[in-house]
Symmetry: C2
Subunit: 517 residues, 2 copies
């Protein structure tokens, strides 16, 4: 049922776009259905070379699972377990990953916002995990739960964002051990789009799933994915107990997990593009294979978090050419294994929303779009290597996603003959501004960004000489002023709040915090 999803909504197409233009502020684009070809730098022999190298690593070097339950699971599944190290035969790996669905439909609270996913379908998901924000006044400070609520509203209000994610910024005013409850509730309450589930521990993941049971009904989770978890690996070749226990919680409930090796190219991988991909591929495969040990047929996503490291300073870098190349290659590997895959969008290391931030974000977005990423995470707000989420950048990134969406949709041909008649009508030296074809098509013909100023300098000066940061913050204030909460059913809302209250009484306050990427 998951592999052949019934589609509750029509994806893409002219009608969907027209509906969106007519709809209120909080409308959403359907899941992207790409028609642009993939950028595929590897020929079949090179794909086989990566596959073979990765499988040899899994067989000969093995992967460390720092988790007693996982080791026991692997023993039962027939793997060669030596201490913490699990050696995986390529036949076993191929057999296990073959039961991962290649596509499914994400069910959103508002069923109209459900999303076909995998194959040519992609979704844009905001950044998460920022310990700081740059706020509506561009001040860098510690975030509160109110700030997180605001970002969930902005995600709700951005047509090209398909999800509110989860912990966009860390709500520092909530006790660490209770945070996952309030983060989940904020995603559920402030938007009716799909969202992510915290995986900071197995028990926290179970809380998220229990809240999903309340929101959707337990039977719905068995039918279709409603929430996505992320589990980071520790490169090279280690998975730890925290992530594995969260992975088990999600897989048991048939909810998708992103299996994401955390790659700092050159530091925890070889200092070279193709070998780094081979290692990352081995790591992702080991995680993907384990999802099927936990529950055969559970949805899972080939993931990674990927940066290259400056060999001078040790700093992680973004938007570099090697990250683009690795994304193209990883896309080919995921399609080779026939599983959906995740990458990271709009990354960058700038400290402010300056031109560096713009270059890095756009380089990264082009990489993931040409690579054909399905789960396009960190699609809005990311700056300073993820240390802060910027309100200004969030709304601009969201508009960039809408532009990238349009590019990846590819070329329309439906008005070609009609337009060629316009060329004959206008003739040499004429103009098209009043032509019937122009009047019929101008709204959809060319993307008109709201936040990019293309006026003359005189007009721009008359408008107050605002750089994009100021314009974006003004825009963010404006749309937040127009925000309308998509109300939760009252009984559901009460049940969710009761659950949180009960769990707050049960869970001791604690200070430790895990961050995922």
């Amino acid at each position: 049922m998951i592999e052949n999803p019934t589609r509750p909504i029509r994806s893409g197409g002219r009608e969907a776009r027209r509906a969106m233009r007519m709809a209120p502020r909080s409308s959403m684009l359907p899941a992207l259905e790409r028609n642009l070809p993939y950028c595929e730098p590897m020929d079949p022999d090179q794909i086989a070379r990566i596959d073979n190298a990765s499988m040899a690593i899994l067989e000969d070097v093995g992967v460390v699972f720092r988790d007693e339950i996982a080791l026991e699971d692997w023993r039962k599944a027939g793997a060669d377990v030596r201490g913490e190290r699990v050696h995986l035969d390529r036949g076993l790996v191929r057999e296990l990953i073959s039961t991962i669905p290649s596509s499914w439909t994400y069910r959103a609270r508002n069923i109209e916002r459900s999303l076909p996913f995998g194959g040519r379908h992609s979704i844009f998901v905001p950044m998460t995990g920022a310990p700081f924000l740059r706020d509506l006044d561009d001040v860098r400070r510690l975030p509160t739960l109110a700030d997180l609520n605001m970002f969930h509203k902005l995600a709700h209000l951005s047509p090209a964002l398909h999800s509110t994610a989860h912990v966009i910024v860390e709500p520092m005013d909530v006790k660490v051990s209770h945070r996952h409850l309030h983060i989940t509730y904020s995603s559920m309450k402030h938007s009716d789009k799909t969202f992510m589930g915290m995986t900071t521990s197995g028990r926290n993941a179970e809380d998220v799933l229990a809240m999903c049971d309340i929101l959707f009904g337990a039977d719905v989770l068995e039918e279709t994915p409603v929430v996505t978890g992320n589990c980071n690996g520790n490169s090279p070749l280690v998975w730890d107990e925290t992530m594995l226990s969260a992975m088990r919680a999600f897989c048991k409930r048939k909810q998708p997990v992103l299996c994401s090796p955390f790659v700092l190219g050159g530091a925890n991988t070889p200092a070279s593009v193709a070998p780094a991909v081979a290692q990352l591929n081995a790591e992702a495969l080991s995680g993907l294979a384990y999802t099927q040990v936990i529950r055969k047929g559970a949805p899972a996503v080939y993931g990674h978090y990927l940066s290259t490291v400056s060999m001078k300073s040790g700093a992680p870098m973004a938007g570099t050419p090697e990250i683009s190349l690795m994304n193209y290659m990883i896309g080919q590997m995921a399609r080779f294994y026939n599983v959906p895959w995740r990458s990271s969008n709009t990354l960058g290391g700038a400290k402010t929303f300056d031109a560096q931030a713009g270059y890095e974000s756009a380089m990264t977005m082009n990489a993931v779009l040409h690579a054909g990423t399905n789960y396009i995470w960190h699609s809005a707000g990311w700056n300073e290597a993820g240390m802060h989420c910027s309100v200004a950048k969030f709304v601009v990134d969201a508009e960039m996603c809408a532009m990238g969406y349009r590019m990846a949709e590819g070329v329309r041909w439906d008005d070609f003959d009609e337009a060629m008649q316009a060329v004959r009508d206008v003739g040499p030296g004429g103009h098209y501004l009043g032509h019937a074809h122009t009047l019929a098509n101008f709204e959809r013909a060319f993307f008109m960004p709201k936040l990019f100023d293309n006026n003359s300098i005189e007009q721009w000066q008359a408008d107050g000489s605002q750089e994009i940061t100021a314009r974006a913050l003004e825009y963010a204030r404006k749309i937040l002023g127009e925000y309308e909460e998509p109300k939760l059913d009252e009984a559901t809302d009460e049940a969710l709040r009761d659950y949180i209250a009960r769990r707050e009484r049960e869970i001791p306050a604690a200070d430790a915090v895990n961050t995922e990427y």
Copy 2:
């Protein structure tokens, strides 16, 4: 000889890069030899559809040549000329463009900087035509000849820029009618890279070529291209006398001309991607065909200047998804006709070097690189829709070109097996920083941008909390301080100055100015 160029230099490869790292500040990367696949959204039927539509326009609608000599040339060539309108049979067009060389070698003053061009070879050329600059203090003002000299020095100092172009900024302190002489001399004197030639009139173009005769020797121009002219068409479907007379001057001397329709999508083309490409293609073909009427076998480049127009304000836009799509399609058409092609890089409408400028530039650069552009013009400095050239943006764009260059080179496999041994050596949980493979490869493994700050915020604050504009201007000052002029031969220099002095006496002072894109 042109179609099978002998290569005076080895292009690409590890040795070239190592040589560059070791070389002085003014070193240059070889012409880009791409290995990344092209982004090709059209199938063969769709290419045929564009070709057929364009040919039908040329046959049925025709193209206006506002120039008596061109009309007479076309009559002699067998075209159907009705008044100013030239109807071109597709058979004639195909026959004419078949003699355009598909590749050649640009000879530079320093023969070590000569450049294979066409096919998989591309070159990066700075922006031109700005009536203002943002200077070393980020002040927007009118440029002088000294400012133009400075930009030619910066182009000389930027490894990924293969050319100094010509009128990067308009030297407002030089009489309009004498400007082309001083612009050409500045390109020739301040760098030994290749450059462009002014096409502001036929006579001006002849002056440029006469100066090239002095610099290279008249026989060299017959042997190989040394200078590139640009001729803009007036879309829809018009070529004027100024551009055509300059085109004739270049073609007669076998020097390459970019045949560039000037497209404001939606204003002077249909408001739709595929039909706009069909019109642009017809226009480019008519210009390319005429180059071969002028001189069979003359090198010529399929060109265009391309923006989309806001249907709300009429402002030209850059970095939009439709421009990317059109670039991909135009690349396919140029390869279909087997001619090299030109596009524009780093375009944008931002008034300052803010995040908008970064996004737009990077979107445009990705478009032209994935499209496989050969002559990558406007690769540094462009801002404010070309109204100013920014020193800060110039040096950052130049670094972005080096990053794009690396991406388009594709994936290296030469150390794959060695690196996979490193994975075995390091094993789960280890790190690679001290491994022999890392030490042998770290310099070439990952691009380390100079102008992108990836340090922690604490380190960034300790360094003065500089945004990229301030860092870039500091860097520009630094490299200008290290600039060493690649001295012209004294007799040549004197001959050039004598030529300029004579022509200044001959040419009456005038105020009109043409700008090309």
